[in-house]
Symmetry: C2
Subunit: 387 residues, 2 copies
């Protein structure tokens, strides 16, 4: 099941961005995190992220309800990937009933509240499909979903290129020593279509011979760091160390972190950053210790309709069991769920927090690095203001 | 196995402090976290904290090696309790060989590096036992260990009384609403001999009818919050909610935390606070959101020999498996260990961090509340300066 560009070409141009498709590898074989099934050419294959790091299982999705379930249950997660998968959910729905455009978009749009890419992708699909006759909606939907995926891969590759100089600069300042990057949650290639956002510059630096080392926050409660980021980095050969989410501040106090790079689920027009719960705490520690705190994002993560992120970005409250219970592999290799918390103790599980722009050193976008401010974002994305 | 004061009296005076013994209950029965075995009168019973919250198991310790193992393996943990158990470890050793005073103290002193109470208790034992003839060292050691335990219980009760007004004040400002306290790790009665440090004011407020509610940080990697604090609070009937360590900042941003109270393993003479890894991140969030951040400690936790905590407090690095693997109870009730992190990914496990005094609103001691500053601490504990 190797990598397959939906556009079926290995090297091409989109706008000003030149990129290779599918650089990300598992055991040396390049993959994208979403693709059409090779056998039937219409159903969707996704890497089931609830099975990682124990099993690499490519789940087949055949209708929009399966897509909604995959997003809700976090079989797919990561803001850019959620958008891409939702786009294909629209394509699957059009295959069955071209008239179901609006209700399917509304249903998919309600699967998760925080990542704005979901809304962005669905609005893009609606804009293409609404004017199109029912008879050709299926073809148009598949074409647009493929374009969204290719665009995301190209965008993430560009994010990588614009983030790379940050790591090159650190490497130049401390020759012969490792460049220590701390990241939270998973903003790697499996959170996007390819490359990743926060991890894209790290992969490029590693491939370029810079001695990067990544502190991987385990990212409770769902352990996307310990389970997904560590797996991704390990599969690609990038040196890394898993740490409890509690450890980052201590490491920064002792000079063990050169830079923090995280992804995001939504950035407001003034630069407030929603990301996995706990990101805000790392931003505070970075500020307190003079460590640069960068946020990597594609254009699809910008929400120009919101200014004050703490006040206005909806924060998903997920099930208490994600906190009280943990899934892992027992000594016999069985995937087992255990309860960690005291019996009868309730739990709360806000899934995201918002880091105010004042704590963000800068944003790494596909158009370049930019300050987390309304003026800078408006200058970089003028077409988003006009809308 | 009910509560047993080593001094065998239910209400008595020690200095200016009046207290009841053994207010802390499991299912309505009062207990202390350490006591002499009822049957033989000389061996030690401890609550095995590696079995909580699943089993209430009173482990019997009969020699200093078992005591050392119990401390290292964290069957007993919590700075004050470590000191009390080490004191009884000396008593057990004196029973076998009164000449082994110095080597046993050195051995016990190396079991864990960060909590200063361990050194404090051993120095106290040495000061009593060194001048005493070998023939009476056993009796003297048991008497001093009992005094250390009674002193700790009295001290913690006084900490509770001095912390209580903080919660009463909050309750008075928001009548009819719950008082939300966030705590990290476990600084309850099972971390001490009785009452606890950070939890003592909370127990008193609850018992006084103040509608307290505790946000319990789960406290990765060893989950002392989810497993121990939640169990303690639940057993005593105090309303609480377990949260991922990542969630505290978000809750503070949204006004859901009125006060943070934590315990500590060592406070320097200028007020820097070593405590469970991740405490520093909560202190930063508290400061950023104007939430008072208080630290509760007995006199035995003060280390006047150290000023700069970040630089000079030794931070214990524990096993990587504590991060990569988690123990809990499976669906069939079996205590099971599972691996959460990706196979082959290494982990780092610093067990404590240091919160600079500038982030600490104040200290709650058995002598009253005090600023986290050199001048304030010197005024409150003049005898500690003289040494």
């Amino acid at each position: 099941m190797p990598c397959q560009s939906q556009a079926r070409n290995g090297l091409f141009r989109r706008g000003a961005i030149r990129f290779r498709t599918c650089p990300m590898k598992i055991n040396g074989i390049p993959y994208r995190s979403i693709r059409l099934d090779e056998a039937d050419g219409w159903s969707i294959r996704i890497l089931d992220q609830t099975r990682l790091p124990w099993q690499v299982e490519w789940l087949r999705l055949t209708d929009e309800d399966q897509v909604a379930h995959a997003i809700r249950s976090m079989q797919v997660r990561g803001a850019p990937l959620i958008g891409a998968v939702a786009a294909y959910g629209m394509a699957l729905a059009m295959r069955r009933d071209p008239a179901a455009l609006e209700p399917v978009a509304a249903m998919l749009g309600e699967t998760r509240p925080t990542a704005i890419n979901l809304r962005w992708a669905l609005e893009k699909m609606l804009a293409v499909l609404r004017p199109v006759p029912a008879a050709v909606r299926e073809a148009a939907a598949y074409a647009e979903a493929a374009a969204i995926c290719d665009d995301d891969a190209a965008t993430c590759e560009a994010i990588g290129r614009h983030g790379l100089p940050l790591l090159q600069d650190i490497a130049a300042r401390k020759p012969g020593q490792r460049v220590n990057i701390l990241t939270h949650c998973n903003a790697g290639w499996i959170a996007t279509v390819d490359w990743g956002t926060a991890l894209a510059p790290i992969y490029m630096a590693h491939d370029a011979g810079i001695p990067v080392h990544v502190w991987v926050d385990e990212t409770r409660p769902r352990n996307q760091g310990a389970a997904l980021t560590a797996w991704e980095l390990g599969a690609h050969g990038v040196p890394h160390t898993v740490i409890a989410d509690n450890a980052g501040g201590h490491l920064m106090q002792h000079g063990e972190v050169d830079i923090v790079i995280v992804g995001t689920d939504r950035v407001t027009r003034r630069g407030d950053v929603a990301n996995k719960i706990g990101t805000y705490l790392k931003a505070l520690a970075a500020q307190d210790n003079g460590v640069p705190f960068w946020v990597a994002l594609p254009h699809s993560t910008l929400d120009m309709r919101v200014a004050d992120g703490v006040r206005d970005i909806p924060i998903e409250e997920r099930a208490a069991e994600e906190v009280t219970d943990i899934t892992g592999q027992d000594a016999e290799g069985r995937i087992t769920r255990i309860r960690v918390a005291a019996a009868g103790s309730p739990a709360a599980n806000p899934a995201f927090d918002v880091t105010p722009a004042r704590l963000v050193t800068g944003l790494i976008t596909e158009r370049g690095r930019v300050a987390a401010s309304e003026a800078a974002l408006a200058a970089l994305y003028p077409e988003k203001i006009a809308r």
